[in-house]
Amino acid sequence: MDKVLHAVDRLSDITGKCGSLLVVVLTLAICYDVILRYILAWPCFWAYDMTIMLYGSFAILGAAYCHYLGGHVRMDLLYGRLSPRGKAIADIIGYLCLFFPLMIVLVYKCGENAIWSLQLGERSSASAWRPYMWPFKLVIAYALALLLLQGIVDFVRRVITAVKGVEYES
């Protein structure tokens, strides 16, 4: 089972690290557009849509990576004082009540929306470029699904911790 857990960790890690390079792409794309527009007075027809899609993909691809690294903020007024087992139990309750219902709905609705977008060939109407929307929506659906998967993996670890009473390292 450890192998499966590690495989999901690796996927989140790689997705995050590859996705994080989009900030460089975003910087360069906007700078390119700024140079063309202000110096050569050549407006880029793709800049607006490109900015949004790069930003949106960047932000959502980090969700699973951030969860994997434990980077989502907690209110640890009480949580910080619990024993390792107490923390694990609090997390299990959290996963069952707050994580899985929400993430399943989000993955389902955003996945459905992405497939719908793919089938209908939906296009953006924000700029003259009118790009297809499905690649962006598929990225969002993938990132949310990966976050759900990372959550399941983490949930399994928390259950093992709660049963054994010591932090499960793997």
Binding site: L21, V23, A29, Y38, G62, F99
Partner: protein, 439 residues
């Protein structure tokens, strides 16, 4: 369910966050449950539009990762070390001078970064060892690092102002321009406090030995200033100037600033593949954390407002007979109390969509309201039990006692309250610059 009951239940269910599970999921789930209960399947239908078409497609929010990336690259470039090297030789000669140098550095650095963590870490790592070596009092050290560090989130570019503006329907550029004076007022009040305090009791901040001193008007000052201070200042003025004079959108200014910071790293020979990648990763982590909470808060406030709960809060506060100023001050007080427990992102994203329509309806200027709220959110970093600035300082392990940190921030919290009062009594401090730039 009646709107009154929904309001009470929704706010009460936020107590589930005390469970310690990541806040974003808790807020999102509460929004989802109550959205389903009050609007039924229509809420689910709106979900992709809220998330994909809303938070993840907000052009202005693209500035968030760009300014965070810029701040990270500025930290890597080592401009802080270079600036502090000069500042501490200029100011070190008089009592409390190092703390003044720290605060000046904090103000400069705040203008290159949009979050507190990055600026406070950079400043703390430089200034705390130097001040400890000069035998400064621990509480003065902690206070000036924590107080100065929080300026990062108010002085533009600021992630807080970027998140605030679209929610309240004001322009980010006007918010940025408006935050300049309150931010500088805070910085100035900290500096004056340090000077006065050290003049009364020089043992708090003894002056450093004479051989390290550098006269302000000298050839060496000029050369060092040109190589160490002018490049970051040029970048700050390029980014903020192009914004304030309407040349570029915040997103464009962020990208140009990020590229400028990379170039600065290159000039100072600090750019390696490793640092570049590392900065990308940390930018991703902070952005994902912020944007995910923004998505969840969007789900929450969507359900809250469409169930008519915003109206319930407005009715409740107006029926108390407090008058418009009473309501305004009550709102600020609620934000202040929440600031002791939740971090600014939660307060901003949940409280603002509820309060700002109400305050607008009462005839307050939305720009001014936004700036007063954002200035008062500064206090939330310093008020225990959840004083994030202290957490950052503690995390650096620089040999300061926790007691001195909590004692040290007290005068700075007082100063923040005074500055918030000034922005309330003299609205011109907030709105003069934005109005002057865009008449």
């Amino acid at each position: 369910m009646s709107p009154e009951l929904t309001t009470v239940l929704m706010l009460l269910s936020l107590f589930i966050l005390l469970l310690g599970f990541p806040v974003a999921f808790g807020i999102g789930t509460v929004g989802l449950v109550f959205g389903l209960l009050t609007s039924g399947p229509a809420y689910l239908y709106m979900l992709p539009a809220r998330i994909i078409g809303g938070t993840l497609s907000e052009y202005i929010l693209a500035a968030v990762p760009l300014f965070i990336f810029m701040g990270n690259m500025m930290q890597t470039s080592g401009v802080a070390e270079r600036a502090f090297f000069i500042l501490h030789r200029w100011f070190g000669g008089f009592n409390g001078g190092l703390a003044v140098a720290t605060l000046v550095l904090a103000i400069i650095f705040a203008a290159t970064t949009g979050v507190v963590g990055a600026s406070e870490t950079a400043i703390g790592l430089l200034a705390v060892p130097a001040m400890l070596k000069a035998r400064y009092s621990q509480s003065l050290i902690s206070g000036s690092v924590c107080g100065g560090g929080t300026l990062g989130i108010l002085i533009p570019p600021s992630v807080m102002l970027i998140l605030y503006a679209p929610m309240a329907g004001v322009s980010v550029i006007q918010m940025f321009a408006g935050a300049v004076i309150p931010g500088l007022l805070l910085g100035l009040s900290y500096i004056i406090y340090v000077i006065v305090r050290c003049a009364i009791n020089p043992s708090l901040g003894p002056s450093v030995e004479s051989e390290e001193r550098l006269p302000f008007f000298s050839k060496e000052s000029l050369v060092l200033g040109l190589t160490h201070l002018v490049p970051p200042f040029f970048l700050i003025f390029a980014v903020l100037g192009s914004l304030f004079f309407g040349v570029a959108s915040p997103t464009e200014a962020g990208a140009v600033g990020a590229l400028g910071a990379v170039v600065l790293c290159l000039c100072y020979k600090r750019l390696t593949w490793y640092t570049l990648l590392d900065n990308c990763y940390s930018t991703l982590r902070i952005t994902a954390m912020i944007i995910f909470i923004a998505m969840a808060a969007n789900m929450f406030t969507g359900a809250f407002l469409s169930a008519g709960c915003g109206q319930v809060i407005t009715d409740l506060l107006t029926s108390l007979g407090l008058g418009r100023w009473g309501i305004f001050l009550t709102s600020l007080f609620i934000i202040f109390v929440l600031g002791c427990f939740i971090d600014w992102i939660g307060i901003l994203l949940i409280v603002v969509p509820i309060f700002s329509p109400m305050l607008n309806k009462l005839g307050f200027d939305p720009l001014w309201v936004g700036l007063v709220i954002c200035t008062s959110l500064q206090i939330s970093f310093l008020t225990p039990p959840f004083a994030y600035s202290i957490f950052y300082l503690k995390g650096m392990n620089l040999g300061l006692s926790l007691h001195s940190m909590y004692v040290g921030i007290i005068p700075f919290v007082m100063l923040q309250i005074i500055v918030v009062a000034i922005t309330i009594i003299f609205p011109q401090t907030c709105v003069w610059l934005p109005r002057w730039l865009t008449p």
